[in-house]
Every structure is written in structure tokens, then in C-alpha cells.
Amino acid sequence: MDDRDEIRELKKKIFLTAYRAGSAHLASAFSVIDLLYVLYCKGILQYDAKEPWKKSRDRMILSKGHASLALYVILNRIGLINDEKLNGFCQPGSHLGGEPRMSAAPGIEASTGSLGHGMSFAVGIAMACKMNNYDNKIYVILGDGECQEGTIWEAAMAAYKFKLDNLVVIIDDNRLQAMDTVEEIMGITSWREKWGAFGFDVDEINGHDLDEIERTLLKENRRDVPRLIISHTIKGHGVSFMEGVPIWHYRMPDEKELEILQSELGISDEELIL
């Protein structure tokens, strides 16, 4: 399988897991899965599945916790969440909820869900790793809508002040939030200027171009400077009727839409029943 096929399989798994549970933030998971795939499956994020709690590991904090399914299927793929656990998503007796819970599985580095927490948490981790002289990287993925939370900017100031050149902040810039476009709701368009003004070294990528993601993630931080990657994405990427449509922030397809989704993600009727 090539990378695109692999990602399509992951998207299938995201949908089927959500389908069994009856709900999930599908579109948010689809917008960030390409990035997570490159981060985890192209040897960028340094982890050891046999020793997942190793202190000097790289960490990824999914601050936009509602995209949890994207994280879960990736952790499933690298062997940190087994199929049975994944299949229990959001069902009675499960540890895997709609928002990630730190204690649920190795690889979930923070309990997120309330927006505007993950970046500060990641700043703390990056500071601790620097104190310990680790040569590791801390990645944190924010939603663009999430950047309306004030703590994002408190954390941005601190990241620059404390010279966190082990920190890579990624905005999943799909330009949508629950109700409408981010621009319509809060008039925000200029991430580059805003984060640049806070002292970050800013890159912009097409968050669905795997080579560009990889190339950019492999770039080193400038000494003493935290990085920001604006990852331009399409919310609901890969499912035509979801792409860029706000209502899909938290919704499951009806019968007609399901047929389209099945054909676009290659899901058979048998797979739906399982």
C-alpha cells in the first residue's frame, strides 16, 4: 500500500469506529489525519512502542482533543492501542472517550477536550525536557478556532520567553469551527503575522501534501526559538459532502450520505455490520 492507501484505511477505521459508537467529530479527525500519519509513520516522532513511557521520548499533545479518533487510529497502527480497545470507543466500559484521557493508553500524553489547555501543558513538558537536557521534540496540535482561547497566547509568550526550541506548534488551519468559518466568527485570518509577532519561526504548508508535511516537520528549530507550522487543511477531507461544511463539525451521515461516504472511503456493507 502506498501512503494514500494507508491514510484511506485510517479514515475507514475512523469512520467505522465512530459508526459503532454512534457519534464523533469526524470532520475534525479527517482534517488532521494526514499530518498525524506523517508525524508518526514516517519516523519523525521518536517513540519506542516497547518503552512508551521513556522519559526522553518525543511527545505529541492533541490540544484539539475532539479529533481524538485520528489519534486513536494512529496509536492503533503503531501498536499502542489494540483493536479491541479501539472498537470500544465511546461505549460502556471503554477508556477511549470522545476526548482523550491521559490514563487510557500510552501515547495519550495529556487529557484534553477543553480547548486552550494543550499548548500550556506542552510548554510545561518542553520546559521540563530542557531542564533534563533531553534532545527531544514536543509537538502540539491546535485548532485554528481554538486560538480564540486566551491561554494560547499566554503560552505563546511563555514559549518564546523560555526559548523553547524543542517545541513545534502546529495549527490545523481548516478555517472552520463549530458554527461557521473562523474568519466570520472572530475575524481571524493572519496567523503568520500573529505568531510571527510573538516570536515564532513560522512555516505554512498544505496539510494534505504528504511530502510537504514531511519536509517541513524535518526542519530543525532555530536555536532558542519555538516553531509554528500553519497546516492549511480541509475539514472533512476525503468525504465530498463534508469538506468545508460547518454542520459536519459534529454529525453522523444519514442513509443517503452514508452511501456516498462508503464509496468514497471504500467501505463495504459487510464492514458496516462488523
Binding site: S120, T151, E154
Partner: protein, 307 residues
């Protein structure tokens, strides 16, 4: 009290290299020794309590033991959701140090008062809630806070008077007898113990003997010990620089209800109001009915059966 905290923190940092100090634009001079001797373990987060609290949780997830220090009103109220989600929900080993608790900032008013903190913090799972009355209690608490592998809140204020002749053998959750007496047990928490001790002296002159008990730990609570203490006088008062809802009175009342016992009691504190007036701490305590003479009068009236 704060000096004792800082000395103790310095000792702990010397003994344990994982201890780190986080502040939020305060403690300019008082942290000088710490900054000089542990420069890589002191961080000023500026005026951003939420960020400091969540970052402390992140550090703790890597094995650090952060002592996050700022004015208690801001660490508790401003940063509450971060305290809840990042520290308590994830059971992170962070020590939250609130300074200037209660009505300490008597000239600044309710924005700087903490008179509901015990109520809202006591309901947070995993959190130990300490409220020291004297320096001796602070010393014990700092050691205990380091022993506990989980979140701890210490509610500091400015009392410099000491009432323990020698450090008693404190126990987590078990209130400590500060002064023995026969007629009524007065439970108190935090630095308002000074008013209670003055009230006790005043009542002593009128032939009323008060037992003063410091409830230094508001969570967890040793209910059996509370009942054992009450066995002596069979009636009690609670005195707190806090709303009477959710604070010390609630702690004692819940303990008794849980154990299915009841004693006559009077609660003394802020009666579900924000504190009024400005001035010295004494003035503000007086304006809100919790100065020593007012406490003495309320206890007397209670014993006389008039309330």
C-alpha cells in the same frame, strides 16, 4: 508564614532536584535565595496564572515537582478550570501555593480576597487542601506536600504568631488541639486563629474555657477524630475567614452527618456575602463580624442559649 514557606521550599529544593518554583509576577525579593542557588529551577510566568498552572501540570507529567505560587485569589479563581482539568483530573504532582488568602489584602477588596476557595477546591477529586494557622503547621505541610504524590493546595496568609510550644505530631486530616478547654470546642482554620486565641483569652476572663482546634487539613478529613474531640465538650463553634457555605463549617457538619451524630453549634464567618469595607485586616475583620471581640460575643451568646 510566607518566610517559613520559602525557607522550607529552599530546603526541599536542596534535597530534591525535581522541585521547581513557578511564580506569576510576584515574590520579587522573597525568592532571591532560591533564584541565586537554583537558577535553572525558577520560572516567572508573568501575569498568566492559567498558563502557569497548566504548564506546571505538563512539568509534573515529566517527573518535576512544581510549586506554583501566586496570590490565592488568582491561582484558584482565575485558573480554576486549569487546576481541574490539567492538575486534578490528570492527578499531577503539582503543589499550588496561594498567598494572601482570606481577607489579607484588606485594602484591595473582594477581587483580591479568597473567601470561597475552600468551598470550590474541596470538591475537586485528588486534591489535598491545607490551610495552615501557624508557622509550625506550614513546616509540617511542606514536608507532607512533598510526600504526597498528587496535587496539593496550601492556603497561606500572614499570621506570624505561634501557638504551639513544640511541633505536635500532626496527622493528615486530623485537626490539632492548639489550646485545651472545657466548655466549648472552637474549630478554626488558617490565620484567623489569632482572633480566636484573643477571643479565648477574653472569654477565659469571664470564666468560659475554650478548646481551640486547628483544622489544618480541609481535605481529606479524619471524621472519627473530629467526633472524638467533640466528645469532650459536646458543643462547638466554627470560625473561618471564608464563606460559611462550603468552608470549615461545611467540613465539620458533613463529618458529623456522615457519622450520624449531632452537636449544638454556631458558625462564624462570612454569611454568604463578599467582604465589605477597607482598611487594616483588623478593620475588615471587624466590618465583617469576625474580630476577636465579636467572635467572643457570638460564642457567649451561643452558650447563653440566645442564638
Amino acid at each position: 508564614m510566607r518566610d517559613t514557606y520559602l525557607k522550607k521550599l529552599y530546603d526541599l529544593a536542596k534535597r530534591n532536584t525535581e522541585v521547581v518554583s513557578l511564580v506569576s509576577d510576584n515574590g520579587l525579593i522573597v525568592y532571591d535565595d532560591f533564584r541565586r542557588d537554583f537558577p535553572g529551577r525558577y520560572f516567572n510566568f508573568g501575569i498568566s496564572e492559567e498558563n502557569m498552572v497548566a504548564a506546571a501540570a505538563g512539568m509534573a507529567s515529566c517527573g518535576k515537582i512544581p510549586f506554583a505560587y501566586t496570590i490565592s485569589a488568582f491561582i484558584v479563581y482565575r485558573a480554576y478550570e486549569f487546576l481541574r482539568d490539567d492538575i486534578c483530573f490528570q492527578n499531577q504532582n503539582v503543589k499550588l501555593i496561594g498567598i494572601g488568602s482570606g481577607l489579607t489584602y484588606s485594602t484591595l477588596g473582594p477581587s483580591h480576597h479568597t473567601t470561597e476557595d475552600i468551598g470550590i477546591l474541596r470538591s475537586l477529586p485528588n486534591l489535598t487542601v491545607f490551610s495552615p494557622a501557624t508557622r509550625t503547621e506550614v513546616e509540617w505541610m511542606m514536608e507532607k506536600a512533598c510526600e504526597i504524590e498528587g496535587p496539593v493546595y496550601i492556603r497561606l496568609s500572614n499570621n506570624s504568631k505561634e501557638y504551639y510550644n513544640a511541633p505536635p505530631s500532626f496527622s493528615l486530616g486530623a485537626p490539632a488541639v492548639v489550646k485545651e478547654g472545657r466548655n466549648i470546642t472552637v474549630f478554626v482554620t488558617g490565620s484567623i486563629i489569632t482572633e480566636v486565641m484573643d477571643a479565648a483569652a477574653e472569654l477565659e476572663c469571664a470564666g468560659i474555657s475554650i478548646e481551640v482546634v486547628s483544622v489544618h487539613t480541609l481535605k481529606p478529613v479524619d471524621k472519627k477524630e473530629i467526633i472524638r474531640l467533640l466528645d469532650k465538650t459536646k458543643k462547638f463553634a466554627t470560625v473561618e475567614e471564608h464563606n460559611v457555605i462550603g468552608g470549615l463549617y461545611s467540613v465539620i457538619a458533613e463529618a458529623l452527618a456522615d457519622e450520624k451524630v449531632m452537636f449544638p453549634s454556631v458558625k462564624i464567618g462570612l454569611n454568604d456575602v463578599f467582604a465589605t469595607d477597607y482598611g487594616t485586616l483588623q478593620n475588615v475583620r471587624y466590618a465583617n463580624g469576625i474580630r476577636s471581640d465579636q467572635i467572643a460575643l457570638k460564642i457567649r451568646e451561643f452558650l447563653d442559649g440566645s442564638i
